[in-house]
């Protein structure tokens, strides 16, 4: 007797003689009927508990039995299931994607028809969830690598960054082969095309290195779109790391001609311009190699229009970031690790002037690898494309003042 032949099953697939003894079995009872419908249009009752999960395990108790039923659906439901990931939070998306994974695995093991054509159609619709589209792509890739490869050139501007990455990777491979074969001009053209579409740091570096060997001079700073023009003030006291949570004057007002009591004397704002290809803003340069100190860096960003953006920060010191006077996030972690785009902070740029303040903490460690007191920051669209139309920097004369940073 198959599972479907049983009149009712408990949440763990066993016959359930005593219905509704618990919430779990009640949920399972409500769901099993939906499971038996078996068509793509009918999975909504199974999907709903998975989309309802929230923070701290909220909804897990109902989601588990629903996942069990959902993952027993036929492969024909895959496009609808993947579509149900649209707008799902990260936790829900994992439940839903995992159910799709099991449906696919079971379908393949049983020799069932996998709806590849429908999955390709789903993949082509960029409005769908990036994770769901990636799942569709990988399903096609495993089934027919040549067909998947043929899809990649159309994904060079894909909003799903993993898909775009593979598309760029394909270009890099082709360019590399051209380079190896001595077709220099063609290789340069293809590398430059790849560079135009690349958003991942490792791919950008994988492109610029051969381009340099081919006599080209890619402008890394422009490619990344670093914010390199800053005002800096400090040091303030961070003895015992207590300055991180203390609001020094720049957190109350931005008055660029102001003079304040700092650590060891009066402090005032000065200029700090980064010349680094990788956007390093080195506070040690203007302030000296100090310990147990706080510095602030301030700049302004002018946008022609209101638009969504991301502030992307790399930093191995303690930091806080305010945008238009609102604290976005902060971490008091010192000297663990740093990389480009380590933190992504979504913001809404307003038309005209926007303010950006970075608080940077240095701690008491004296090891050689704890000298750094720096960060790197860029402003991109949500996909990582630098917003090059922005005008960054504080216009002279330095009379800017805001009620809040």
């Amino acid at each position: 007797m198959s599972q479907r032949d049983h009149p009712f099953h408990g949440p763990f697939g066993k016959p359930c003689p005593a219905l509704f003894r618990s919430l779990e079995s009640l949920v399972a009872g409500l769901l099993v009927g939906a499971a038996l419908w078996g068509t793509a249009a009918d999975i909504a009752p199974l999907v709903e508990p998975l989309r309802a999960v929230g923070p701290e395990g909220r909804g897990n108790a109902a989601a588990g039995p629903a996942w069990r039923q959902l993952s027993s659906q036929p492969p024909s439901t895959l496009p609808a299931l993947l579509a149900s990931m649209d707008g799902a939070n990260d936790i829900s998306a994992n439940y839903l994607r995992s159910a799709a994974e099991v449906i696919l695995q079971k379908g393949q093991a049983q020799g069932a028809a996998i709806p590849y054509a429908e999955l390709e159609s789903f993949l082509s619709e960029t409005r769908h969830d990036r994770r769901a589209r990636r799942f569709a792509y990988e399903t096609i890739l495993a089934h027919d690598p040549a067909a998947a490869a043929a899809l990649l050139p159309g994904m060079l501007d894909d909003p799903a960054m993993e898909l775009r990455r593979d598309a760029v990777g394909q270009l890099i491979d082709k360019a590399g082969k051209l380079q190896s074969g001595g077709s220099t001009n063609e290789a340069v053209a293809l590398f430059q095309k790849a560079l135009h579409h690349a958003r991942d740091v490792d791919q950008i570096e994988a492109i610029t290195a051969p381009l340099r060997k081919l006599g080209q001079s890619p402008d890394l700073a422009s490619l990344f779109g670093w914010v390199r023009s800053w005002k800096v003030i400090g040091p303030f006291d961070n003895t015992k790391r207590e300055g991180y949570d203390k609001a020094f004057p720049p957190e109350r007002e931005i008055k660029l001609d102001g003079v304040y009591d700092g650590k060891g004397g009066k402090v005032h704002w000065g200029d700090l311009e980064s010349r680094d290809d990788y956007g390093k803003v080195d506070v040690n340069l203007p302030l000296g190699k100090l310990k147990e100190t706080i510095a602030y860096c301030y700049t302004e960003v002018r946008s022609e229009r209101a638009q969504p953006a991301e502030i992307r920060l790399g930093c191995k010191n303690a930091w806080k970031v305010w945008f238009n006077g609102r604290l976005l996030f902060g971490r008091d972690e010192y000297h663990r690790n740093e990389e480009i785009d380590q933190y992504r902070l979504p913001v809404e740029l307003q038309a005209g002037r926007n303010t950006l303040l970075v608080k940077l903490g240095q701690n008491e460690q004296v090891e050689e690898w704890t000298v750094e007191w720096e960060f790197r920051l860029r402003i991109t669209d949500p996909l990582g494309t630098p917003l090059r139309s922005l005008k960054v920097g504080v216009p002279a004369p330095t009379t800017a003042s805001t009620a809040r940073p």
Partner: protein, 404 residues
């Protein structure tokens, strides 16, 4: 002497116990958290081929150790350009057949030092479920057949809980409560989580300092079971169901090597090794001894019979007397080491970072390496020992070394 001789005369890999919960390697360093498993032995020597029963390809790296339930072996991996693919795989122990594989996507930060990886914490099992935690603080629970029971994103819930070098604290489970110890410079906590639903039963603030060591379950006859949470501050013992403090040892401890437990006594990496015996409820533990001559590096201490073994990162293995902490002998193995050895019946098996398996005869007066076998792959994860063999996970494969 009789015991030693008896052991050497026994057939290698003697399986002494039937399949019961304790016969499973349920967590990092085994069910007792000391690198041994009751009834599980190691061979007297390794054959020329290392005794490889099978090996299976893995989809990504991992520092986590395999865990076992009956004829199933579970292992975790991470893969992808940013290690955002988090895998749990289940293999049939007898022949290495992959029974199932599940993937979830990281919701927390995956950045870590290049030596480690996102699949650094070891999974655990209560015999009905397998729980997997990753450096991104994603926590997932499957039943033994691969059905997803629940999923949590602990950094999703607590956004500053992460370490830019990576997290590695492994899970433990007792009395229906799963313990996740998530400690770092910015937002540290420990959560007691309902194994059935993944919901917090309790959550404690923990010291704001990076910590890579793992908690232990402290079990002893006649006393309530406790969780032991080690950090740079010391060792906090809490009741599994409530998170209530049972006692607190505050003299500091390692943030890398983890405590070992044997018969309710905790051998904590603190000022060398400090042996702590819990006393009355609410009272601090008694210090049985402290030895500055027993200094573990990254590998955690191993307790076997009447001895304790510690190893530094370079591979110097030190044997101590369990009752007193007196140093007995030292033996240099070929390092470097990240993983903790396993031991059984006068043998200790250690795998260095290059994948060289070294079998040590602990009955020799100064210890002696009696066999070596080169896996030829990077191994940073701790092996798992069962009655049927040893499981070793490299960066690319899961290996089973059989009994001869």
């Amino acid at each position: 002497m009789i015991s030693s001789l008896h052991t050497r005369l026994l057939l290698p890999w003697v399986a002494l116990l039937p399949l019961v919960a304790d016969a499973n390697w349920t967590q990092f360093r085994g069910p007792d958290g000391n690198g041994t498993l009751a009834g599980a032995t190691l061979p007297s020597s390794l054959p020329a081929d290392g005794g490889v029963a099978w090996k299976a390809s893995l989809p990504g790296r991992g520092l986590s150790c395999p865990v076992t339930v009956g004829d199933k072996v579970f292992v975790t991996c991470s893969s992808g350009p940013r290690q955002t693919r988090l895998h749990v795989l289940c293999f049939r122990a007898s022949d290495g057949t992959k029974l199932w594989e599940r993937t979830v996507l990281a919701t927390g930060r995956t950045m870590c030092h290049e030596k480690t990886c996102v699949a650094a914490p070891s999974p655990t099992t209560d015999g009905e479920r397998v729980f997997a935690l990753y450096s991104s603080n994603d926590l997932v629970c499957f039943d033994l057949d691969g059905n997803l029971l629940w999923f949590r994103g602990l950094t999703h819930d607590y956004p500053n809980a992460s370490n830019s070098l990576g997290m590695s604290s492994s899970l433990v489970v007792a009395e229906g409560v799963l313990l996740a110890q998530v400690e770092n410079d910015t937002e540290s906590f420990a959560a007691g989580i309902d194994v059935r639903t993944g919901v917090n039963l309790w959550k404690l603030d923990r010291p704001k300092m990076a910590n890579w060591c793992s908690p232990v379950v402290i079990r002893s006859a006649g006393r309530p079971t406790l969780f032991g949470l080690q950090s740079g501050k010391g060792l906090l013992a809490v009741e599994p169901k409530t998170g209530g403090t049972a006692w607190n040892y505050t003299e500091g401890a390692s943030t890398v090597a983890s405590s070992a437990v044997r018969a309710g006594v905790i051998y904590a990496p603190s000022h060398g090794i400090t042996a702590l015996e819990p006393g009355s409820p609410g009272q601090p533990p008694s210090q049985l001894w402290r030895s500055s001559q027993l200094r573990p590096g990254t590998p955690s201490p191993v307790v076997l019979e009447d001895r304790i073994y510690v190893m530094n990162d370079a591979g110097v293995l030190t044997a101590g007397e369990l009752a007193t902490g007196k140093r007995l002998w030292q033996l240099r193995l070929k390092g470097p080491f990240s993983s903790t050895p396993v031991a059984g019946a006068n043998r200790l098996l250690a795998v260095n970072e290059k994948g060289l398996v070294q079998l040590v005869d602990l009955a020799k007066p100064e210890g002696e390496v009696v066999s070596e076998f080169d896996l030829g792959q990077t191994v940073l994860g701790t092996p798992s020992l069962t009655e049927g063999g040893v499981y070793i996970r490299s960066d690319a494969q899961l290996w089973k070394l059989r009994k001869p």
